[in-house]
Symmetry: C2
Subunit: 241 residues, 2 copies
């Protein structure tokens, strides 16, 4: 090609409904030849790949990248390095790459690790991020509620490991959002019960996806087997306006 | 018409770049005849109206709605009631209306007051919300940084009235976002200076708009005259991953 390095576009593709990608995101997916995305669990089609299916063509080069679902830092770093090298092969030949990213590219996204690794190993890399619809916004929309209003403070906790962190948020915020709540759900439920907050708490699983599930009034749901893509919204009482 | 009431679509139009509307939002703006939006300050064209200009046609009915920029609750309620009646005239005749809403429709949005007033005065109203790009996501994208990563807790404060609220957030969050920070900026700056947080704090004014301004490293900016549409992002040190 001989026109310098290509650009890596981090394209936010939203939460499930393919129509919730932005015009800009869709345009970039259609302008580049190489489309990267995270490989799903057990080699299955991942969410980002499903979302972009209607917007790309069989002639485009698909680049599934492996990001293991583990905690081990060495294993993670090795995977980021390998993914970065696969993408860099194209960028280095002047070929643009779009990385399709579930939700928003800046909001708890795998894209950040890919971008940071590339930047570190190849400082000349050019990266552009296209913002998109994140899961708390999708969840509020399908519930038909405001997420936040007026001067309400919002706390977002992405992965609750103990209920102490929730206590701190409860003492400070007007609205609390918990992501990936499944592992500590019974403890969270008991805490909200003791504070009489269950009646106005919501959970949305897989918002805007075909398998979307909505739970209103959690009093009747002390036990829920929740998927990875679940958003819990807890409006506290006496909400400031 | 004679087909019951129309649907009110709350269409999130994003933060400035017209291409940051979703495919779904754009489609709905083009499918309905009546397009409502908030009238700008001093009767000028508002942001939502600017954003949707490329997507609508002169044949569509424009419905600028007046939402005063005041604190007085009576005055606000009166304005919401009047706006709701203007919209209801169409809905009641079976005509769909799309309300174009800056940022995301569930995130500190005027749309909520319109929707709540309509629901109260006309319980049979049908409302659908289309999520979109909110300002913290746009700001992080144009900065080229992650807003949040891994297990980082996020605090969003929409309108800081005193620094005590910031203290509470500082004791608890990993990343803090302040919206509409202009009136208390000097106090916030002093507080961040005392905690040695200025070097890694950012401000984006009018993210993704033609007048976008980015401030990195706030140590050099003890005084800034900031616009209404400003987002401050404060990553705290020793960020959890």
């Amino acid at each position: 090609m001989g026109k310098g390095v290509g650009t890596l576009y981090g394209v936010s593709v939203g939460t499930g409904d393919p129509e919730l990608i932005t015009i800009k995101g869709q345009r970039l997916l259609q302008e580049v030849w190489v489309i990267a995305f995270p490989l799903g669990v057990n080699q299955k089609q991942g969410l980002a790949e499903k979302i972009i299916a209607p917007w790309i063509t069989p002639n485009q080069k698909k680049l599934p990248l492996y990001f293991p679902y583990v905690q081990d830092e060495q294993q993670l770093k090795q995977a980021w390095k390998e993914a970065a090298e696969i993408v860099w092969e194209y960028l280095n030949r002047g070929i643009d790459v779009a990385f399709a990213c579930e939700g928003d590219v800046s909001f708890y996204s795998t894209f950040t690790y890919l971008a940071q690794t590339l930047k570190q190993d190849h400082p000349q890399v050019i990266i552009q991020r296209i913002p998109g619809v994140c899961s708390p916004m999708s969840a509020a929309s399908v519930l038909g509620i405001p997420l936040t209003l007026g001067s309400q403070n919002l706390a977002i906790l992405p992965a609750l490991y103990n209920v102490t962190e929730l206590d701190q948020a409860l003492s400070w915020a007007d609205v609390i959002v918990l992501l990936k709540v499944s592992s500590v759900y019974p403890q969270v439920w008991k805490k909200l019960e003791s504070l009489n907050l269950l009646d106005h708490a919501f959970i949305v699983e897989r918002a805007t996806q075909p398998e979307e599930k909505i739970y209103r009034n959690l009093r009747h749901h002390p036990n829920l087997g929740l998927s990875y893509f679940s958003v819990m919204i807890i409006p506290l009482q006496d909400r400031k306006l």
